[in-house]
């Protein structure tokens, strides 16, 4: 039995491993376009921001508009609602984070932080939030639930006057989208 020389082994091994590696890495790289094609495409990402005129909204009136295919709740809150939301102690909240895209991610869920826009302007009259339950994505009903804020009929989540989760399976307060005031009564979302 002859022993194979070290040189032969090294050369063959190198060719096998190199071929195998190129094949494996090549296949892995080729996979990416097939995966990435499912991500949001350019036309979806390019969806323009939405402007909204707050002036016609009366106190106690809310509307739902569409932004990036999602419902956005805009509510002109009554004095009483603002008062109740402000008086709620933070300790009672299920989710103590503001969930406001215009604020740092650790901002506490005070009523002020729920109505702050991208420039830092605070206007407690108008609450702007993404109308999607943070549980499994249903659209909550307005002026409903134990806290007279929003109530999700799908799995029973109750949100308060500031859209903060108080009861039920939802883990987070309703999200506040990025928006800013472009005049005293006009906002642009996105």
């Amino acid at each position: 039995m002859s022993t194979t020389t070290a040189q032969d082994v090294t050369r063959r091994d190198f060719l096998y491993i190199a071929t195998g590696t190129v094949g494996a890495v090549g296949t892995a790289l080729a996979l990416w376009p097939f995966i990435d094609q499912m991500n949001p495409d350019a036309s979806v990402l390019a969806l323009a921001s939405t402007e909204f005129d707050l002036a016609p909204l009366q106190p106690g009136q809310g509307v739902t508009i569409k932004w990036r295919g999602k419902p956005v709740f805009i509510r002109h809150r009554t004095e009483e609602e603002i008062k109740k939301a402000k008086e709620t102690p933070l300790a009672e909240l299920k989710d103590p984070i503001a969930r406001n895209a215009n604020l740092p991610p650790d901002a506490p869920a005070t009523d002020e932080n729920r109505v702050t826009d991208g420039t830092g302007k605070v206007n407690p009259k108008y609450l702007v939030q993404i109308g999607i339950c943070t549980h499994l994505g249903c659209v909550p009903l307005g002026e409903a639930g134990d806290y007279h804020g929003w109530f999700c009929p799908c799995h029973g989540s109750h949100y308060d006057e500031a859209g903060r989760i108080r009861k039920g399976p939802a883990p987070r307060n309703l999200d506040i989208p990025p928006y800013k005031y472009i005049s005293d009564t006009k906002i642009v979302i996105g």
Partner: protein, 407 residues
Amino acid sequence: MSGHATYEFKNPVVRWIEERLPIFSVIRGQAIDFPTPRNLNYWWTFGGIAATMLVVQILTGIVLVMHYTPHVSLAFDSVEHIMRDVNYGWLLRWLHANGASFFFIAVYIHMFRGLYYGSYKSPREVLWMIGVIIFIAMMATAFMGYVLPWGQMSYWGAVVITNLFSAFPVVGETIVQWLWGGFSVDNPTLQRFFSLHYLLPFVLAALVFLHIWALHVVGNNNPDGIDVKSEEDTLPFHPYYTMKDLYAILIFFLVYLGFVFYSPWYLGHSINFAPANPLSTPAHIVPEWYFLPQYAMLRAIPDKLGGVLVMFGSLIILLFLPWLDTSKVRSNRYRPLGKIFFWLFVIACLTLGIAGSQPAEGAWLTVARIATAFYFAYFLVILPLLGKIERPKPMPATITEAVLSKH
């Protein structure tokens, strides 16, 4: 198990092909002469019934696609077009929609049969596991198919189910946007669901092939759960079981077609006759009946991630069943305690189904929690312990002895 007999074919064309591709001897050996236990009861016909339903779904599905349009602005109308304008469109659509339900009925009975008679035990572990994968794949197929008519329940079902993935920490949101192809369930979602709903049934067919292959390596289990010892214990598959299966399929079809012709929407939800509206969620979202037990488990847990893990866990745990059940006796015919707990398990599953159809509050929530606890306890506590404490009844030595003792 498969016979090793060499077949001599007389027809020269058959002989010529057989020498090049032994397809005729495979058919003879696996579908005609295949030795099958002589004591199989009617619960054993549900595998054949399920396979038949898969064929019905593929055939009706292929022709429905000739008339359906996967686009958010056209999908709902194209389904109505199928119902009103296409020749026999109503029939094909109802066959397909009810076919999904009856496919699940057959598969659920088939699974409970395997559970009762211990068909998952050695040497049939791989056979069982392929079956579990088939079950999960057909759940995905059914879910995506239900989205295609783009009614209110289609849409909101898609929203709720895809949002399950948002429960996973860190990557959840990215996964959901990847599934949607956007920031909400929209046209890209509908189109990819359509593509996958067409693909998956063929994946299912391939899995069913593997399932049957695994079955033919180890052979059928039987109601007594004892191994085949001699030829006396078996019958050739054809004509004994081809005819028995066919008879069961015909009875099953009477019920299936009864629904199709007389109450085609009995198992559906009338809100799905309203076109999808992304701005308004229907008051009471429920999945199709075949997902209700899993849905009840999802809602029984007050934590989002916990609920999702429990729901997926209820399926994954089935893969480990062959090793969780420690009893050496297969059939519950000879397991006095196993039998009792099996029926309690069936009741727990049915209870979960009812709880899943009710709003998640009050007494039903408590009931769902107890049933969920029992579901997991059955696999993780009861089956592992029973094998150690139970005294099985005396078993017959052979299948023939078991059969003849009754006559």
